[in-house]
């Protein structure tokens, strides 16, 4: 009888702090999630630069602000970003 009582108290005294730390961890985690942006506030990566007919075979056009180069040759029409994938600098197109 006594033993039962004690172990119940034991359980509660252990359980109470565990709930505290558990809820704190969950709450802290959700706070961290708050700092992670879900809406990326930047211009869309889909950009309108013109119609394919604006770029006949042999043209090269540099869009400085959009950081894109469009060129077309016998193999087709290509769009290449001028932002370097290494450290994010702008590659000079020649």
């Amino acid at each position: 009888m006594d033993e039962k009582k004690d172990s119940r108290r034991d359980f509660i005294t252990k359980f109470a702090p565990a709930t505290f730390w558990g809820s704190l961890a969950v709450w802290g985690g959700s706070l961290l999630k708050f700092t992670m942006p879900t809406l990326l506030p930047q211009e869309s990566k889909k950009i309108k630069l013109g119609m394919p007919s604006d770029f006949p075979n042999g043209t090269t056009k540099i869009f400085e602000k959009e950081r894109v180069v469009l060129f077309s040759d016998n193999d087709g029409l290509f769009a290449i970003s001028t932002t370097c994938t290494h450290l994010g600098c702008v590659v000079k197109w020649t």
Partner: protein
């Protein structure tokens, strides 16, 4: 009758009030200076322990702590720099506006229009350099004098946190002027934060878990350096990181006291104390005999030397406070002189279309920038991460209980130090000369997979050689202290040479130039 009445007359409320009012200056002084002027030892001691700001010091300080060649005042100089940075930073906040439209202009206003603005800005900029240098050198001193040893392991770890926060403060502050230098240095920094993508890309798992992208977005609030990044950096620089720094500084100072004061050798000779302050009680052994201890509770573990009485101490007031004030004033004077000699830089306003070339990071990151061209992940994340982790674990991997508080207490330490300086200088210089002349794998095999370069590049090569050398010393000497001495010296020499090389000999496109004056004008 009237006589007795007068005798027993209770003063009226108004009279009491007026008397109190008359004594107001005196009562106010008594409450503030609670123990008379610190002219006696007793009052001086009381001044120290009953004042919140002074009581982080002990009442008496060991004379050895004043030995100039021991600490070189570097910890105090770091703290002084931080205080000066906090004051000038708060002043800058009055005029600085953290927005894309106004950030650059407000810095320009501070620099050119606000009265005294340029001086404040210059002190803040020079202060940042000096604090980083001071903290770094303080770490070197603590390592070299073996002061990380038991019981100070924990304080060494706290120190590493302070080191990281100091660098974080400096990195976040660099963006705020929003000029070309700021913009492009931060772009590189953010790209390095995103560089685990090199590894996940090579493994083809970026779609599933994009650690690099997450880190970068957490830092920038976006995929690009824009207004969100500016707001985040502003918050980190002005609120979050200073709070963390102050908190851990509190812990750092508290631990110094709790670890029994500063480290010092077990035998202290008269010659060692030459030039340190002395007072009439310095020869007294303080004093366990006539101290009374109350039993509060029983705890396990060692504590301050309760049994051992301490000799060779002097009153903290005024000796220690004079020492601290002298360092503070010296640091402030250096900053002010530098501020008149050289202005904090301000380039053109940030322009995302035109990269700054070269976009150099602040000098303490330049050593890493030298390693980054091959692999942003290895040079910018893995190797510095390993270095910080390694530094942090030193006291737990070297548990020798040799003498603390002495530079090079025996000739073994000195000879390992010397041979390691030679070895690591040769390794680094050879690698630099080789890569400048012959390039690296990508120049010879343009089609080589990036993963191979991530694994085999000058950075990993140098690191491997350093570790090999230190393990060799560890094995041959059988001493973890000498192994630690070897790896720490490698780190130190690597840092110094790479930083110098990137600062002086790298120009546009990160090409080699003998001097910046030879850079092509563009």
């Amino acid at each position: 009758m009237s006589n007795t009445e007068e005798k027993n007359k209770v003063p009226s409320g108004l009279e009491i009030f007026l008397t109190n009012l008359k004594h107001l200056p005196q009562s106010f002084k008594d409450a503030t200076v609670r123990h008379g002027p610190p002219s006696s030892n007793r009052a001086a001691s009381q001044s120290v322990f009953s004042n919140l700001f002074l009581h982080i010091h002990s009442v008496r300080t060991h004379r050895y702590n004043f030995k100039k060649t021991f600490t070189m005042g570097l910890g105090v100089a770091s703290a002084a720099s931080f205080i000066i940075l906090a004051i000038t930073g708060i002043l800058l906040m009055i005029y600085y506006k953290p927005s894309l439209a106004e950030a650059y202009n407000s810095i320009k206003d501070i620099h050119f229009a606000v009265p005294g603005g340029r001086l404040i800005r210059n002190i803040h900029r020079w202060g940042a350099h000096i604090m980083v240098a001071g903290v770094f050198l303080h770490m070197v001193r603590v390592f070299m004098t073996g002061s990380y040893r038991h019981p100070r392991q924990f304080n060494w770890v706290v120190g590493m946190i302070l080191f990281a926060v100091t660098l974080g403060l400096s990195f976040t502050g660099y963006l705020l002027p929003w000029d070309q230098l700021a913009y492009w240095a931060t772009t590189i920094g953010a790209q390095i934060a995103g560089s685990p993508v090199e590894v996940t890309d090579a493994l083809g798992i970026t779609e599933i878990i994009d650690i690099g992208g997450m880190q970068m977005r957490l830092l920038l609030g976006a995929d690009i350096v824009g207004e969100e990044a500016l707001v985040r950096f502003y918050f980190l620089h002005c609120i979050f990181l200073p709070l963390i720094l102050v908190t851990f500084l509190g812990v750092h100072f508290w631990r110094i006291r709790k670890d029994g004061g500063m480290s010092r050798p077990s035998v202290i000779t008269k010659e060692m104390l030459a030039g340190t302050p002395i007072d009439e009680n310095a020869e007294m052994a303080f004093p366990t005999k006539n101290k009374t201890y109350g039993l509060m509770c029983l705890v396990k573990g060692e504590s301050n030397n309760v049994k051992n009485s301490v000799k060779n101490t002097v009153q903290s007031w005024p000796n220690l406070f004079n020492y601290e004030m002298a360092i503070f004033i010296l640091v402030l004077a250096i900053m002010i002189v530098l501020s008149y000699v050289s202005d904090a830089p301000l380039k053109e306003a940030a322009n995302p279309a035109v990269p700054e070339n070269p976009a150099k990071a602040p000098w303490y990151f330049l050593g890493l920038q030298e390693l980054v061209p091959y692999s942003a992940f290895m040079g910018g994340v893995a190797i510095p991460g390993l270095a910080v982790l390694g530094l942090m674990l030193i006291p737990f991997l070297d548990k020798t209980r040799n003498e603390s508080g002495l530079w090079f207490p025996d000739k073994n330490e000195k000879s390992v130090f010397k041979s390691t300086v030679i070895f690591s200088s040769i390794v680094i210089l050879a690698t630099l000369i080789f890569t400048v002349n012959f390039g690296w794998l990508r120049n010879w095999f343009p089609q080589i997979p990036q993963l191979i370069i991530v694994l085999i590049n000058p950075g990993t090569l140098i690191t491997t050689l350093f570790v090999w050398w230190s393990i060799r010393i560890l094995k041959n000497s059988g001493s973890t202290r000498l192994g630690a001495m070897a790896i720490f010296t490698c780190f130190l020499v690597g840092f110094v040479i790479l930083t110098y090389f990137a600062y002086q000999h790298r120009g546009p496109n990160w090409d080699f130039y003998w001097w910046p004056s030879l850079w092509p004008t563009h």
